[in-house]
Amino acid sequence: MEEPQILARLMNIFRDIFDEDSIEAVPELSAKDIEGWDSLAHIRLILTIEKAFKIKFATSEVREIENVQGIVSVIKARV
């Protein structure tokens, strides 16, 4: 799966989880840019991405993700 496709799917997930239709899933988007992206929302985000892409994140990967690019990298390596 190519990066633009992944970003497009991630954008829908981000918009759904954070209930904000103006979110653009750009690679540098991080927790400081979205209100409500705290540790609990991060877990929901990861669970939703796992389900949508049918992949599993390692615990260390979940901790190390700092922005959307980090998520994309993990997804690209799995699908």
Partner: protein
């Protein structure tokens, strides 16, 4: 795990307009309980359950009536992170006709909340208290694979903090309800402790219970 239960597949699928209907709760005229219950009756995923729970909380804060849902205030005391379980509880309660309000004190403050009459939980006068404690809340020794230690792992009533915590609640709230095996265990401890009240006079030896009996 079976998705029939984990993903509520036994329930009708959520309508496509679920997000819009949740957002629209605030602009409805009159009580919103029926609309909330209608949305809660669908097989919602974690995000949808969280969205609906947030909307219920917001609606309550804004003073909108949740009729005909029955109000119920539940305090949740846990020695682990329970934040992820609260929104599903609130939304699922609405499915059963209950407007659940959850009182959640700070992390790992079980004893303080139970024993302090002026604590957040006691001041909120909950209809029920859920003690969501895991094994770390019990005075047990780690005995994995060690039968000798396991055989000595017992709860000494003279040093049972859970007993004290339960007393704190029973003295302050009149409606502490319990239905789990764990709470049956606590009740048994309390009732046995009453029987042992002569212990200080030396009439009876201290009693111990093995939680595995329950």
């Amino acid at each position: 795990m079976n998705p029939l239960y984990t993903e509520l597949q036994r329930l009708p699928r959520a309508p496509r307009a679920f997000p819009e209907r949740v957002k629209g709760l605030g602009s409805l005229n009159g009580p919103v309980g029926r609309e909330i219950q209608s949305l809660a009756t669908c097989g919602l995923d974690l995000n949808q359950l969280t969205k609906l729970a947030n909307a219920i909380c917001k609606t309550r804060k804004e003073g909108q009536s949740l009729d005909p849902l029955t109000p119920f205030r539940l305090a949740v005391l846990s020695n682990s992170t329970s934040d992820m379980t609260i929104p599903p509880l609130v939304s699922s309660a609405a499915r059963h006709g209950i407007a659940l309000e959850v009182i959640q004190p700070s992390y790992d403050q079980v004893a303080q909340e139970a024993l302090n009459p002026d604590s957040k939980v006691n001041r909120s006068k909950p209809d029920a208290v859920l003690l969501a404690l895991d094994y770390r809340g019990l005075p047990l020794k780690l005995s994995l694979g060690d039968n000798e230690i396991a055989s000595t792992t017992r709860i000494d009533l003279s040093d049972c903090s859970i007993k004290k915590e339960c007393r704190g609640f029973s003295a302050i709230t009149s409606k502490v309800k319990s239905s789990t095996n764990f709470l049956s265990f606590i009740e048994k401890i309390l009732s046995e402790n009453e029987k042992d009240s002569g212990r200080e006079s030396g009439l009876k030896p201290p009693r111990c219970f093995n939680p595995m009996e329950f």
